[in-house]
Symmetry: C2
Subunit: 148 residues, 2 copies
């Protein structure tokens, strides 16, 4: 009888690609250009293995890229800020961090989130404008149908 799901060694690239909705080629390409860290150590030619955290990071990255329509260079910058934020989070959770240092960490995190939020909000407003225009045209067509 199998033990209750041993903490599995890691996901293979094909599985990762499927769950995040992309292709292995894309994941390898992102690693190649340094957008993603090189998935764990491995000897040349061996399979890449990914953790659940890797999957989450990739999913977030792809979502930002798709929804904001940024280039991989721009995406890289966004992710690097994200990485810096993760490091700060690690430092945060350690013991003996002075209060003013903690304030600095939070301030940096806030700045980063604000920048991302601004990009996202701008996009949302653009989409909303388009949606309103289409809805208005739809309403005009419907009105004409009533008038028949």
């Amino acid at each position: 009888m199998s033990a209750s799901a041993a903490p599995h060694a890691g996901l293979r690239i094909g599985e990762v690609a499927q769950v995040v909705g992309t292709t292995p080629r894309t994941i390898r390409y992102y690693e190649e250009i340094g957008l993603l860290p090189p998935a764990a150590e491995r000897e040349a030619g061996r399979h890449r293995l990914y953790s659940e955290r890797d999957v989450e990071r990739l999913r977030d990255a792809l979502r930002l890229k798709e929804l904001l329509g940024v280039s991989l260079d721009e995406l890289k910058e966004l992710l690097e800020a994200e990485g810096a934020r993760a490091e700060l989070r690690d430092e945060w959770s350690r013991e003996g961090v002075a209060a003013d240092r903690r304030r600095d960490i939070l301030t940096a995190a806030l700045g980063h989130l604000d920048r991302q939020l601004e990009l996202v909000r701008r996009r949302r407003r653009e989409i909303e404008t388009l949606e309103r225009e289409l809805a208005a045209r739809r309403a005009r067509v419907r009105r004409r149908m009533q008038e028949l």
Copy 2:
């Protein structure tokens, strides 16, 4: 003294590119692959000239492409439906169109608008979800700052 702005012959490709926020190369490329109609007649080597209507169509096309993140093939399909709708509008405004024909025209227009609206709404919801997640993270960071 110059007359009050004679109905100018047309806009050149550089002007068009600037007002819609793209490049001449992109406009020529779209014409080359048949995404846009070949801007008015002209002998080979002569300047392309665009009307205000051309500008509007291009602006709409670029906005759909950017905000929906579709490929040029997908965009082409959306625009062809748009073109069919324009033809129907022309037929609509002519005299002596039977009432049931008019109803068909409006029904087709409605279907086209509904398809576009569905794409746009899905995108808006995705963006809104991302925005809420980011806003929630921001709120947590702010709360921690208060607690210091």
